[in-house]
Subunit: 264 residues, 2 copies
Protein backbone atom coordinates (compact mmCIF):
# COMPACT_ATOMS: atom_id res chain seq x y z
CA UNK A 1 0.00 0.00 0.00
CA UNK A 2 1.52 3.32 -0.96
CA UNK A 3 -1.24 5.41 0.48
CA UNK A 4 -2.06 5.96 4.12
CA UNK A 5 -5.23 6.68 6.02
CA UNK A 6 -4.56 9.34 8.61
CA UNK A 7 -7.27 9.83 11.23
CA UNK A 8 -7.72 13.47 12.19
CA UNK A 9 -9.31 14.79 15.33
CA UNK A 10 -10.84 12.75 18.12
CA UNK A 11 -12.47 9.68 16.63
CA UNK A 12 -13.23 8.16 20.05
CA UNK A 13 -16.18 10.42 20.69
CA UNK A 14 -19.63 9.05 21.53
CA UNK A 15 -21.97 8.43 18.61
CA UNK A 16 -24.80 10.54 20.04
CA UNK A 17 -25.55 13.35 17.66
CA UNK A 18 -26.04 17.00 18.38
CA UNK A 19 -27.44 19.39 15.81
CA UNK A 20 -24.78 21.11 13.72
CA UNK A 21 -23.76 24.55 14.97
CA UNK A 22 -22.72 26.91 12.19
CA UNK A 23 -20.67 30.07 12.05
CA UNK A 24 -19.51 32.77 9.68
CA UNK A 25 -16.39 34.90 9.92
CA UNK A 26 -16.17 38.55 8.93
CA UNK A 27 -12.64 39.88 8.44
CA UNK A 28 -12.63 43.68 8.56
CA UNK A 29 -9.82 45.76 7.12
CA UNK A 30 -8.58 47.68 4.09
CA UNK A 31 -5.11 46.25 4.65
CA UNK A 32 -6.25 42.71 3.83
CA UNK A 33 -7.97 43.82 0.61
CA UNK A 34 -4.98 45.87 -0.52
CA UNK A 35 -2.70 42.89 0.06
CA UNK A 36 -0.52 44.89 2.45
CA UNK A 37 -1.33 42.53 5.31
CA UNK A 38 -1.69 38.82 4.63
CA UNK A 39 -4.52 37.43 6.73
CA UNK A 40 -3.50 34.76 9.21
CA UNK A 41 -6.79 34.50 11.04
CA UNK A 42 -9.08 32.72 8.56
CA UNK A 43 -7.14 29.45 8.53
CA UNK A 44 -6.59 29.53 12.28
CA UNK A 45 -10.25 30.16 13.12
CA UNK A 46 -11.42 27.57 10.55
CA UNK A 47 -9.28 24.86 12.09
CA UNK A 48 -10.12 25.91 15.66
CA UNK A 49 -13.89 25.89 15.11
CA UNK A 50 -13.79 22.55 13.28
CA UNK A 51 -11.91 21.16 16.27
CA UNK A 52 -14.57 22.19 18.79
CA UNK A 53 -17.62 21.20 16.73
CA UNK A 54 -18.65 24.47 15.09
CA UNK A 55 -18.94 24.42 11.28
CA UNK A 56 -17.50 27.51 9.62
CA UNK A 57 -19.75 27.96 6.59
CA UNK A 58 -18.77 31.31 5.13
CA UNK A 59 -16.06 33.96 5.34
CA UNK A 60 -16.20 37.52 4.10
CA UNK A 61 -13.52 40.19 3.96
CA UNK A 62 -14.77 43.78 3.79
CA UNK A 63 -13.08 47.19 3.92
CA UNK A 64 -13.21 49.74 6.77
CA UNK A 65 -16.47 51.18 5.40
CA UNK A 66 -19.41 51.31 7.80
CA UNK A 67 -22.16 50.37 5.36
CA UNK A 68 -20.17 47.38 4.07
CA UNK A 69 -19.46 46.16 7.59
CA UNK A 70 -23.04 46.66 8.81
CA UNK A 71 -24.45 44.98 5.69
CA UNK A 72 -22.21 41.94 6.12
CA UNK A 73 -22.99 41.66 9.85
CA UNK A 74 -26.71 41.77 9.09
CA UNK A 75 -26.50 39.11 6.39
CA UNK A 76 -24.21 36.72 8.25
CA UNK A 77 -25.64 36.87 11.77
CA UNK A 78 -29.08 36.03 10.43
CA UNK A 79 -27.80 33.02 8.50
CA UNK A 80 -25.61 31.33 11.12
CA UNK A 81 -25.59 30.43 14.81
CA UNK A 82 -22.54 32.60 15.40
CA UNK A 83 -20.77 35.40 13.60
CA UNK A 84 -17.13 36.04 14.46
CA UNK A 85 -15.48 39.29 13.44
CA UNK A 86 -11.78 40.19 13.40
CA UNK A 87 -10.23 43.64 13.15
CA UNK A 88 -11.21 47.24 13.70
CA UNK A 89 -11.40 47.46 17.49
CA UNK A 90 -8.27 49.53 18.16
CA UNK A 91 -7.96 53.19 19.22
CA UNK A 92 -7.65 54.92 15.82
CA UNK A 93 -10.24 56.60 13.59
CA UNK A 94 -10.38 53.61 11.21
CA UNK A 95 -11.46 51.30 14.03
CA UNK A 96 -15.23 51.32 13.60
CA UNK A 97 -16.23 47.71 14.20
CA UNK A 98 -17.86 48.20 17.63
CA UNK A 99 -20.07 51.00 16.31
CA UNK A 100 -21.01 48.91 13.27
CA UNK A 101 -21.96 45.92 15.44
CA UNK A 102 -24.14 48.15 17.62
CA UNK A 103 -25.77 49.67 14.54
CA UNK A 104 -26.42 46.27 12.93
CA UNK A 105 -27.95 44.90 16.14
CA UNK A 106 -29.90 48.08 16.85
CA UNK A 107 -28.44 48.50 20.31
CA UNK A 108 -26.78 51.50 21.90
CA UNK A 109 -23.06 51.88 22.44
CA UNK A 110 -21.15 53.80 25.07
CA UNK A 111 -18.14 53.72 27.34
CA UNK A 112 -18.23 50.50 29.36
CA UNK A 113 -16.90 50.75 32.92
CA UNK A 114 -15.78 47.10 32.96
CA UNK A 115 -13.70 47.77 29.83
CA UNK A 116 -12.33 51.01 31.31
CA UNK A 117 -11.20 49.04 34.39
CA UNK A 118 -9.35 46.59 32.13
CA UNK A 119 -7.63 49.43 30.28
CA UNK A 120 -6.64 50.98 33.62
CA UNK A 121 -4.63 47.86 34.39
CA UNK A 122 -2.52 48.59 31.32
CA UNK A 123 -2.54 52.39 31.70
CA UNK A 124 -2.47 53.09 35.44
CA UNK A 125 -1.44 56.70 34.82
CA UNK A 126 -4.71 58.60 34.12
CA UNK A 127 -2.93 60.84 31.60
CA UNK A 128 -2.18 57.78 29.45
CA UNK A 129 -5.83 56.71 29.34
CA UNK A 130 -6.65 59.41 26.79
CA UNK A 131 -9.69 59.85 24.56
CA UNK A 132 -8.14 57.73 21.84
CA UNK A 133 -7.52 54.75 24.12
CA UNK A 134 -10.93 55.14 25.74
CA UNK A 135 -12.41 54.44 22.29
CA UNK A 136 -11.44 50.83 23.00
CA UNK A 137 -13.86 50.85 25.94
CA UNK A 138 -16.83 51.72 23.70
CA UNK A 139 -18.88 48.53 23.89
CA UNK A 140 -22.37 47.79 22.52
CA UNK A 141 -24.99 47.64 25.26
CA UNK A 142 -25.73 44.17 26.55
CA UNK A 143 -22.38 42.70 25.49
CA UNK A 144 -20.31 40.22 27.47
CA UNK A 145 -16.62 41.14 27.41
CA UNK A 146 -13.94 38.85 26.02
CA UNK A 147 -10.65 38.92 27.88
CA UNK A 148 -7.49 40.20 26.19
CA UNK A 149 -4.55 39.04 28.32
CA UNK A 150 -2.02 40.70 25.99
CA UNK A 151 -3.03 44.35 25.70
CA UNK A 152 -6.18 44.32 27.90
CA UNK A 153 -8.56 46.11 25.44
CA UNK A 154 -11.39 43.56 25.38
CA UNK A 155 -13.36 41.92 22.63
CA UNK A 156 -17.07 41.33 23.20
CA UNK A 157 -20.00 39.11 22.43
CA UNK A 158 -23.42 40.64 21.88
CA UNK A 159 -26.31 38.60 20.57
CA UNK A 160 -24.66 35.97 18.39
CA UNK A 161 -21.88 38.31 17.24
CA UNK A 162 -18.38 37.73 18.63
CA UNK A 163 -16.01 40.64 18.00
CA UNK A 164 -12.28 40.02 18.28
CA UNK A 165 -9.02 41.85 17.55
CA UNK A 166 -7.26 41.53 14.20
CA UNK A 167 -3.74 41.05 15.61
CA UNK A 168 -3.38 37.23 15.41
CA UNK A 169 -1.91 36.59 18.88
CA UNK A 170 -4.62 38.69 20.54
CA UNK A 171 -7.37 37.14 18.41
CA UNK A 172 -6.16 33.68 19.39
CA UNK A 173 -6.22 34.53 23.10
CA UNK A 174 -9.75 35.96 22.73
CA UNK A 175 -10.92 32.81 20.94
CA UNK A 176 -9.59 30.71 23.84
CA UNK A 177 -11.56 32.90 26.24
CA UNK A 178 -14.88 32.84 24.41
CA UNK A 179 -14.89 29.31 22.94
CA UNK A 180 -15.84 27.43 26.15
CA UNK A 181 -18.98 29.60 26.40
CA UNK A 182 -20.29 28.65 22.96
CA UNK A 183 -22.76 25.96 21.98
CA UNK A 184 -21.11 23.27 19.88
CA UNK A 185 -22.38 20.44 17.71
CA UNK A 186 -21.19 16.94 16.95
CA UNK A 187 -17.67 17.28 15.59
CA UNK A 188 -16.99 16.65 11.97
CA UNK A 189 -14.65 13.67 11.73
CA UNK A 190 -12.20 13.49 8.89
CA UNK A 191 -9.86 10.94 7.32
CA UNK A 192 -7.29 11.79 4.64
CA UNK A 193 -6.26 9.11 2.16
CA UNK A 194 -3.15 9.73 0.06
CA UNK A 195 -3.76 8.53 -3.49
CA UNK A 196 -0.23 7.15 -3.80
CA UNK A 197 0.57 9.23 -6.84
CA UNK A 198 -2.67 8.51 -8.71
CA UNK A 199 -3.86 11.69 -10.45
CA UNK A 200 -7.38 13.06 -9.98
CA UNK A 201 -8.28 12.26 -13.57
CA UNK A 202 -7.59 8.57 -12.95
CA UNK A 203 -10.01 8.24 -10.03
CA UNK A 204 -12.47 11.09 -10.58
CA UNK A 205 -15.25 8.92 -12.01
CA UNK A 206 -14.89 6.12 -9.47
CA UNK A 207 -14.71 8.60 -6.58
CA UNK A 208 -17.98 10.16 -7.70
CA UNK A 209 -19.56 6.70 -7.45
CA UNK A 210 -18.17 6.25 -3.92
CA UNK A 211 -19.66 9.63 -2.93
CA UNK A 212 -23.06 8.61 -4.33
CA UNK A 213 -22.93 5.33 -2.37
CA UNK A 214 -22.16 7.20 0.88
CA UNK A 215 -24.52 10.16 1.05
CA UNK A 216 -23.89 10.63 4.79
CA UNK A 217 -20.30 11.57 4.04
CA UNK A 218 -18.67 14.45 2.20
CA UNK A 219 -15.80 13.37 -0.01
CA UNK A 220 -13.35 15.85 -1.49
CA UNK A 221 -10.25 15.50 -3.61
CA UNK A 222 -7.40 17.96 -3.01
CA UNK A 223 -4.51 18.23 -5.43
CA UNK A 224 -1.19 19.56 -4.26
CA UNK A 225 1.28 20.65 -6.87
CA UNK A 226 4.88 20.80 -5.67
CA UNK A 227 6.18 22.42 -8.84
CA UNK A 228 7.00 19.03 -10.34
CA UNK A 229 4.01 16.76 -9.89
CA UNK A 230 0.62 16.50 -8.22
CA UNK A 231 0.31 14.72 -4.88
CA UNK A 232 -3.37 14.25 -4.06
CA UNK A 233 -5.36 13.60 -0.93
CA UNK A 234 -8.90 12.31 -0.79
CA UNK A 235 -10.62 13.59 2.33
CA UNK A 236 -13.71 11.84 3.70
CA UNK A 237 -15.76 13.69 6.31
CA UNK A 238 -18.74 12.59 8.38
CA UNK A 239 -20.13 13.17 11.85
CA UNK A 240 -20.07 9.51 12.85
CA UNK A 241 -17.45 6.80 12.74
CA UNK A 242 -19.54 4.12 11.08
CA UNK A 243 -20.41 5.87 7.80
CA UNK A 244 -16.96 7.46 7.80
CA UNK A 245 -15.20 4.10 8.08
CA UNK A 246 -17.41 2.51 5.41
CA UNK A 247 -16.67 5.28 2.91
CA UNK A 248 -12.95 5.26 3.69
CA UNK A 249 -12.86 1.48 3.08
CA UNK A 250 -14.51 1.99 -0.30
CA UNK A 251 -12.08 4.78 -1.21
CA UNK A 252 -9.15 2.54 -0.27
CA UNK A 253 -10.57 -0.41 -2.24
CA UNK A 254 -11.09 1.84 -5.26
CA UNK A 255 -7.50 3.08 -5.09
CA UNK A 256 -6.18 -0.50 -4.68
CA UNK A 257 -8.07 -1.55 -7.79
CA UNK A 258 -6.75 1.39 -9.78
CA UNK A 259 -3.18 0.78 -8.62
CA UNK A 260 -3.49 -2.91 -9.58
CA UNK A 261 -4.87 -1.97 -13.01
CA UNK A 262 -1.99 0.44 -13.50
CA UNK A 263 0.54 -2.29 -12.75
CA UNK A 264 -1.23 -4.85 -14.97
CA UNK B 1 14.05 60.63 12.88
CA UNK B 2 13.35 57.11 13.98
CA UNK B 3 10.56 56.51 11.52
CA UNK B 4 10.85 56.05 7.79
CA UNK B 5 8.58 56.79 4.87
CA UNK B 6 8.69 53.90 2.43
CA UNK B 7 7.15 54.54 -0.99
CA UNK B 8 5.26 51.53 -2.36
CA UNK B 9 4.33 50.90 -5.96
CA UNK B 10 5.03 53.16 -8.91
CA UNK B 11 4.79 56.77 -7.79
CA UNK B 12 6.06 58.15 -11.11
CA UNK B 13 2.81 57.58 -12.91
CA UNK B 14 0.98 60.38 -14.72
CA UNK B 15 -1.56 62.32 -12.72
CA UNK B 16 -4.38 61.76 -15.19
CA UNK B 17 -7.18 59.90 -13.47
CA UNK B 18 -9.12 56.93 -14.65
CA UNK B 19 -12.27 55.79 -12.92
CA UNK B 20 -11.65 53.17 -10.22
CA UNK B 21 -12.09 49.57 -11.38
CA UNK B 22 -13.33 47.28 -8.64
CA UNK B 23 -13.27 43.54 -8.11
CA UNK B 24 -14.46 40.85 -5.75
CA UNK B 25 -12.91 37.45 -5.10
CA UNK B 26 -14.86 34.26 -4.43
CA UNK B 27 -12.83 31.42 -2.91
CA UNK B 28 -14.64 28.12 -3.36
CA UNK B 29 -13.88 25.06 -1.27
CA UNK B 30 -14.86 23.07 1.81
CA UNK B 31 -11.16 22.56 2.57
CA UNK B 32 -10.62 26.26 3.29
CA UNK B 33 -13.62 26.43 5.63
CA UNK B 34 -12.60 23.29 7.52
CA UNK B 35 -9.12 24.70 7.98
CA UNK B 36 -7.54 21.68 6.30
CA UNK B 37 -6.09 23.87 3.55
CA UNK B 38 -4.76 27.33 4.42
CA UNK B 39 -5.66 29.74 1.62
CA UNK B 40 -2.71 31.32 -0.10
CA UNK B 41 -4.61 32.99 -2.92
CA UNK B 42 -6.41 35.88 -1.19
CA UNK B 43 -3.25 37.77 -0.22
CA UNK B 44 -1.60 37.08 -3.56
CA UNK B 45 -4.57 38.26 -5.63
CA UNK B 46 -5.10 41.30 -3.38
CA UNK B 47 -1.53 42.46 -3.86
CA UNK B 48 -1.54 41.66 -7.59
CA UNK B 49 -4.74 43.56 -8.32
CA UNK B 50 -3.62 46.57 -6.28
CA UNK B 51 -0.45 46.59 -8.34
CA UNK B 52 -2.26 46.76 -11.67
CA UNK B 53 -4.91 49.30 -10.67
CA UNK B 54 -7.89 47.12 -9.78
CA UNK B 55 -9.38 47.66 -6.30
CA UNK B 56 -10.27 44.43 -4.52
CA UNK B 57 -13.33 45.41 -2.50
CA UNK B 58 -14.67 42.16 -1.08
CA UNK B 59 -13.71 38.52 -0.61
CA UNK B 60 -16.00 35.62 0.19
CA UNK B 61 -15.19 32.01 0.97
CA UNK B 62 -18.03 29.52 0.38
CA UNK B 63 -18.28 25.72 0.51
CA UNK B 64 -18.68 23.31 -2.43
CA UNK B 65 -22.45 23.78 -2.37
CA UNK B 66 -24.08 24.89 -5.62
CA UNK B 67 -26.65 27.27 -4.16
CA UNK B 68 -24.02 29.01 -2.01
CA UNK B 69 -21.67 29.40 -4.98
CA UNK B 70 -24.40 30.62 -7.35
CA UNK B 71 -25.74 33.03 -4.74
CA UNK B 72 -22.31 34.53 -4.13
CA UNK B 73 -21.55 34.83 -7.87
CA UNK B 74 -24.86 36.63 -8.40
CA UNK B 75 -24.29 39.07 -5.57
CA UNK B 76 -20.66 39.85 -6.32
CA UNK B 77 -20.70 40.11 -10.11
CA UNK B 78 -23.52 42.65 -9.94
CA UNK B 79 -21.65 44.78 -7.44
CA UNK B 80 -18.18 44.94 -9.01
CA UNK B 81 -16.49 45.38 -12.38
CA UNK B 82 -14.91 41.96 -12.10
CA UNK B 83 -15.46 38.82 -10.07
CA UNK B 84 -12.55 36.41 -9.72
CA UNK B 85 -13.16 32.87 -8.49
CA UNK B 86 -10.63 30.28 -7.31
CA UNK B 87 -11.16 26.54 -6.88
CA UNK B 88 -13.53 23.84 -8.04
CA UNK B 89 -12.52 23.42 -11.68
CA UNK B 90 -10.79 20.03 -11.45
CA UNK B 91 -11.98 16.59 -12.66
CA UNK B 92 -13.73 15.28 -9.54
CA UNK B 93 -17.39 15.29 -8.46
CA UNK B 94 -16.81 18.14 -5.99
CA UNK B 95 -15.61 20.43 -8.80
CA UNK B 96 -18.79 22.31 -9.65
CA UNK B 97 -17.63 25.87 -10.23
CA UNK B 98 -18.03 25.93 -14.04
CA UNK B 99 -21.63 24.71 -13.78
CA UNK B 100 -22.37 27.25 -11.06
CA UNK B 101 -20.95 30.11 -13.14
CA UNK B 102 -23.08 29.05 -16.12
CA UNK B 103 -26.15 28.83 -13.90
CA UNK B 104 -25.55 32.22 -12.31
CA UNK B 105 -25.05 33.86 -15.71
CA UNK B 106 -27.95 32.02 -17.33
CA UNK B 107 -25.81 30.61 -20.13
CA UNK B 108 -25.41 27.05 -21.34
CA UNK B 109 -22.42 24.85 -20.61
CA UNK B 110 -20.95 22.00 -22.63
CA UNK B 111 -17.72 20.39 -23.74
CA UNK B 112 -15.55 23.04 -25.37
CA UNK B 113 -13.39 21.83 -28.27
CA UNK B 114 -10.71 24.44 -27.60
CA UNK B 115 -10.39 23.14 -24.05
CA UNK B 116 -10.39 19.52 -25.27
CA UNK B 117 -7.50 20.39 -27.60
CA UNK B 118 -5.56 21.82 -24.63
CA UNK B 119 -6.18 18.69 -22.58
CA UNK B 120 -5.02 16.53 -25.52
CA UNK B 121 -1.62 18.20 -25.29
CA UNK B 122 -1.30 16.82 -21.78
CA UNK B 123 -3.06 13.51 -22.47
CA UNK B 124 -2.10 12.52 -26.02
CA UNK B 125 -3.26 8.94 -25.43
CA UNK B 126 -7.06 8.99 -26.03
CA UNK B 127 -7.56 6.36 -23.28
CA UNK B 128 -6.16 8.85 -20.75
CA UNK B 129 -8.60 11.57 -21.76
CA UNK B 130 -11.44 9.88 -19.89
CA UNK B 131 -14.86 11.18 -18.86
CA UNK B 132 -13.48 12.50 -15.59
CA UNK B 133 -10.76 14.58 -17.27
CA UNK B 134 -13.16 15.77 -19.94
CA UNK B 135 -15.14 17.42 -17.13
CA UNK B 136 -12.35 20.00 -17.16
CA UNK B 137 -13.35 20.91 -20.73
CA UNK B 138 -16.89 21.82 -19.68
CA UNK B 139 -16.92 25.57 -20.26
CA UNK B 140 -19.83 28.05 -20.09
CA UNK B 141 -20.95 29.22 -23.52
CA UNK B 142 -19.39 32.47 -24.68
CA UNK B 143 -16.35 32.18 -22.44
CA UNK B 144 -12.80 33.15 -23.38
CA UNK B 145 -10.31 30.55 -22.15
CA UNK B 146 -7.48 31.35 -19.75
CA UNK B 147 -4.25 29.50 -20.39
CA UNK B 148 -2.89 27.01 -17.87
CA UNK B 149 0.74 26.38 -18.77
CA UNK B 150 1.19 23.91 -15.89
CA UNK B 151 -1.52 21.28 -16.28
CA UNK B 152 -3.30 22.62 -19.40
CA UNK B 153 -6.90 22.46 -18.06
CA UNK B 154 -7.95 26.07 -18.71
CA UNK B 155 -9.66 28.71 -16.66
CA UNK B 156 -12.16 30.98 -18.35
CA UNK B 157 -13.71 34.43 -18.41
CA UNK B 158 -17.38 34.81 -19.19
CA UNK B 159 -19.17 38.13 -18.74
CA UNK B 160 -17.26 39.79 -15.92
CA UNK B 161 -16.55 36.51 -14.11
CA UNK B 162 -12.99 35.18 -14.19
CA UNK B 163 -12.71 31.55 -13.08
CA UNK B 164 -9.31 30.22 -12.03
CA UNK B 165 -7.83 27.11 -10.42
CA UNK B 166 -7.37 26.82 -6.65
CA UNK B 167 -3.82 25.39 -6.76
CA UNK B 168 -1.74 28.54 -6.12
CA UNK B 169 0.92 28.06 -8.82
CA UNK B 170 -1.74 27.41 -11.46
CA UNK B 171 -3.92 30.31 -10.27
CA UNK B 172 -0.90 32.63 -10.46
CA UNK B 173 -0.13 31.58 -14.05
CA UNK B 174 -3.79 32.11 -15.01
CA UNK B 175 -3.79 35.56 -13.43
CA UNK B 176 -0.73 36.48 -15.51
CA UNK B 177 -2.58 35.34 -18.61
CA UNK B 178 -5.84 37.18 -18.00
CA UNK B 179 -4.61 40.38 -16.32
CA UNK B 180 -3.39 42.18 -19.48
CA UNK B 181 -6.89 41.80 -20.95
CA UNK B 182 -8.62 43.59 -18.07
CA UNK B 183 -9.62 47.21 -17.74
CA UNK B 184 -7.69 48.94 -14.98
CA UNK B 185 -8.04 52.22 -13.12
CA UNK B 186 -5.62 54.71 -11.69
CA UNK B 187 -3.43 52.81 -9.27
CA UNK B 188 -3.78 53.37 -5.58
CA UNK B 189 -0.52 54.83 -4.29
CA UNK B 190 0.59 54.03 -0.79
CA UNK B 191 3.20 55.23 1.69
CA UNK B 192 3.94 53.48 4.99
CA UNK B 193 5.26 55.50 7.91
CA UNK B 194 6.76 53.64 10.86
CA UNK B 195 5.67 55.30 14.10
CA UNK B 196 9.08 54.78 15.69
CA UNK B 197 7.68 52.87 18.64
CA UNK B 198 4.80 55.26 19.37
CA UNK B 199 1.71 53.24 20.31
CA UNK B 200 -1.63 53.74 18.57
CA UNK B 201 -3.15 55.19 21.70
CA UNK B 202 -0.59 58.00 21.68
CA UNK B 203 -1.38 59.22 18.18
CA UNK B 204 -4.96 58.00 17.60
CA UNK B 205 -6.61 61.36 18.21
CA UNK B 206 -4.09 63.40 16.21
CA UNK B 207 -4.18 60.91 13.33
CA UNK B 208 -7.95 61.25 13.12
CA UNK B 209 -7.47 64.99 12.69
CA UNK B 210 -4.94 64.39 9.88
CA UNK B 211 -7.45 62.10 8.15
CA UNK B 212 -10.16 64.78 8.42
CA UNK B 213 -7.81 67.37 6.91
CA UNK B 214 -7.02 65.09 3.96
CA UNK B 215 -10.31 63.66 2.73
CA UNK B 216 -8.78 62.60 -0.60
CA UNK B 217 -6.60 60.10 1.22
CA UNK B 218 -7.32 56.98 3.23
CA UNK B 219 -5.22 56.70 6.36
CA UNK B 220 -4.96 53.48 8.34
CA UNK B 221 -3.00 52.45 11.40
CA UNK B 222 -1.72 48.87 11.57
CA UNK B 223 -0.35 47.44 14.78
CA UNK B 224 2.07 44.55 14.65
CA UNK B 225 2.67 42.62 17.83
CA UNK B 226 5.88 40.63 17.91
CA UNK B 227 5.08 38.88 21.18
CA UNK B 228 6.89 41.55 23.19
CA UNK B 229 5.76 44.93 21.94
CA UNK B 230 3.73 46.70 19.28
CA UNK B 231 5.45 48.07 16.21
CA UNK B 232 3.00 50.21 14.25
CA UNK B 233 2.77 51.46 10.70
CA UNK B 234 0.59 54.30 9.50
CA UNK B 235 -0.37 53.76 5.87
CA UNK B 236 -1.55 56.67 3.71
CA UNK B 237 -3.23 55.83 0.42
CA UNK B 238 -4.40 58.06 -2.43
CA UNK B 239 -4.64 57.91 -6.21
CA UNK B 240 -2.47 60.99 -6.79
CA UNK B 241 0.93 62.05 -5.57
CA UNK B 242 0.00 65.55 -4.46
CA UNK B 243 -2.63 64.76 -1.83
CA UNK B 244 -0.63 61.68 -0.82
CA UNK B 245 2.50 63.72 -0.20
CA UNK B 246 0.60 66.41 1.71
CA UNK B 247 -0.99 63.87 4.05
CA UNK B 248 2.29 62.01 4.59
CA UNK B 249 4.00 65.28 5.53
CA UNK B 250 1.29 65.95 8.11
CA UNK B 251 1.58 62.44 9.52
CA UNK B 252 5.35 62.85 9.83
CA UNK B 253 4.98 66.27 11.46
CA UNK B 254 2.46 64.86 13.92
CA UNK B 255 4.81 62.00 14.85
CA UNK B 256 7.75 64.43 15.24
CA UNK B 257 5.71 66.55 17.63
CA UNK B 258 4.67 63.52 19.67
CA UNK B 259 8.22 62.19 19.82
CA UNK B 260 9.46 65.63 20.95
CA UNK B 261 6.73 65.81 23.63
CA UNK B 262 7.72 62.35 24.82
CA UNK B 263 11.35 63.39 25.24
CA UNK B 264 10.44 66.66 26.95
Amino acid sequence: MVYIAKPQGNRRMPQTSRAPVTAALLVIGDEILSGRTKDKNIGYIAEYLTGIGIDLREVRVVPDVAEEIVGAIDALRAKHDYLFTTGGIGPTHDDITADCVAQALGVGISQDERAVAMLRERFPNPADLNESRLRMARIPHGAALIDNPISRAPGFMVGNVITMAGVPSIMQAMLDDVAPKLRTGTKMLSVSVDTGGLPEGAYGGALGDVQKAHPETMIGSYPNFDGQRFRNQIVVRARHEEPLGAAVRDVEAMLSTLHAEKKA
